[in-house]
């Protein structure tokens, strides 16, 4: 690990100054991802800005929803959050392990690095890590990698569970920078790789995530998260689904079907949502949505099994909502 200058600002303003005045500055929050990236020399900042001294934790409720501070830990245990947004709390509890969730933050979870094995081993070519160097995964082992939204330059998947739930809830990421505050819909935070896989997200240089805002919505309460993985716990998603449905007089008015573990960003399955709208949520509608969720899938021979997992995970998640 290369050394770096360590800074612990006490205010957002000071933090922004410290990031802006150094081209090679990196933010550290829970550190549960960044510490390994530093150790493996995937990231080599010259300045590390520890944001744990900033007043960015806690939940703030209002009529419009909840504002979750960027430093709020993934172990958040709040009965009101679990009742209002079941999909979010289930996604959080399915992620990593209790020890990791006690440290991991909302901001860090959204901005964690991909788990493509080649990205994490600097001896392999990876254009996401180093622009223009190619992609070892394309010719290599792609079993765990993406079937939607990939490109000839990168086929990695975004690993966050929390982000998939936040997408299903129409959440917004609140960002601060030298030029003030901006709000980015969570679906626009991560970039598809195209031919610039190293441009991972929509934050500009020197910007800091300060909060996530989750609106009150008619479908939030009837929502859930189902995750398929290689073992029962403590593993990243092979495929996951965050679903939410709002029905009136037995007919689906609006729905969200979002997928994790299959694309470089949390993936919204619009066709599956359309398949549900205007129908009764029954076995036939669920089957139609599960099939529609695979629209546009472009698997490789070694990850074609994920297409069936997508069908299965959407079916399972929507079926859970039948009893809610």
């Amino acid at each position: 690990m290369d050394t770096f200058e360590y800074k612990r600002p006490g205010t957002v303003r000071e933090a922004l100054r410290l990031i802006a005045t150094h081209p090679d500055a990196e933010i550290i929050a829970g550190g549960t991802d960044l510490v390994t990236l530093l150790r493996d020399r995937v990231r080599t900042p010259a300045r590390l800005v520890d944001i744990n001294g900033l007043p960015l934790d806690g939940l703030r409720w209002s009529r419009d929803g909840v504002r979750i501070g960027a430093l709020c830990r993934n172990a958040v245990d709040d009965p009101r959050l679990a009742a209002a947004y079941p999909v979010l709390v289930r996604a959080l509890r399915s992620g990593a392990s209790p020890q990791i969730r006690n440290r991991a933050t909302f901001g860090g979870n959204l901005l964690q690095g991909v788990r493509c094995p080649y990205f994490r081993l600097p001896e392999f070519a990876c254009g996401r890590r180093e622009p223009g160097t190619g992609c070892a995964a394309i010719e290599g082992d792609g079993r765990l990698l993406g079937i939607f939204g990939t490109s000839a330059a990168c086929i990695a998947v975004h690993p966050s569970d929390c982000a998939v739930a936040l997408l299903a809830l129409d959440a917004t990421v609140v960002v601060e920078g030298a030029r003030g505050t901006r709000r980015i819909p969570v679906g626009d935070l991560h970039r598809l790789p195209g031919d610039t896989p190293h441009v991972e997200h929509a934050l500009r240089d020197g910007e800091l995530v300060v909060a996530v805002e989750v609106p009150a919505s008619p479908f939030a309460a009837r929502s859930t998260y189902v995750k398929f993985r290689e073992r029962a716990s403590y593993a990243f998603a092979l495929a996951s689904a965050a679903v939410a449905v709002h029905s009136e007089r037995g007919v689906v008015r609006d729905a969200r079907v979002c997928l994790g573990g299959v694309a470089p960003k949390p993936w919204r399955a619009h066709t599956a949502e359309s398949a549900l709208r205007g129908r009764r949520l029954d076995a036939a509608a669920i089957e139609a949505a599960a099939e529609a969720a695979t629209a546009g899938a472009a698997p490789r021979p070694d990850n074609a099994y994920k297409v069936e997992l997508v069908r299965g995970v959407v079916r399972r998640a929507l079926t859970e909502l039948l009893v809610k």
Binding site: M1, D2, E5, G30, S97, Q99, R103, A232
Partner: protein, 182 residues
């Protein structure tokens, strides 16, 4: 008394020249480790795990993977269970750290330690200090934990010897005991 004072985390190479250029120097850090206040100089790159093991010679905390995948390095940080391999020591000025060495009172084992002995909660023992610290953290989070919940809530601690069923029984017994003590 645990007292550091050397300049670098043991096992770390001397910082490259770039360190000088960017003005990096060891940081003075105060931690409260198992109730003792210790002041030491740490390399900014040193993990909390390496600092405990190599600088403070508290080798009860184990390094299984050094990447967050096994739980052997679990300690309590300000009362909450965390992975000491995934955090830098320098980030914890003033924090309280409890390691497995800090659980027993003299010869009297902590109830969770006692339960691991009584229920044979280990074979080779490599994962055990992490399991015990994680279980202590779990019981603080959830004193009324049920046997059925234990596997999921202990899933951050792997055991290569697969002593899982005895580990679960030990934690269930310790939970029972601590509730009786209320």
């Amino acid at each position: 008394m645990l007292a550091g004072g050397l300049s670098l985390g043991a096992g770390l190479a001397a910082p490259p020249v770039r360190a000088e250029a960017s003005g990096a120097k060891p940081e003075i850090l105060t931690l409260v480790v198992n109730g003792d206040r210790v002041r030491l100089e740490v390399d900014v790159r040193a993990s909390l795990l390496d600092t405990l093991r190599d600088r403070l010679r508290l080798t009860g905390t184990k390094k299984g993977c050094d990447q967050g995948a096994c739980g052997a390095c679990t300690v309590l940080l300000d009362g909450r269970r965390v992975l000491s391999c995934l955090t830098l020591a320098v980030m914890h000025e003033g924090s309280e750290v409890t390691t497995v060495e800090g659980l027993a009172e003299g010869d009297r084992l902590h109830p969770v330690q006692r339960a691991f002995v009584d229920h044979d909660g280990f074979q080779c023992g490599f994962c055990t200090s992490g399991q015990i610290m994680s279980a202590v953290g779990l019981l603080a989070e959830r004193p009324r934990v049920t046997a059925a919940e234990i596997p999921e809530l202990m899933s951050g601690n792997l055991c290569r010897c697969a002593a899982y069923s005895n580990i679960r029984d030990a934690i269930e017994a310790a939970a029972h005991l601590s509730r009786e003590g209320e």
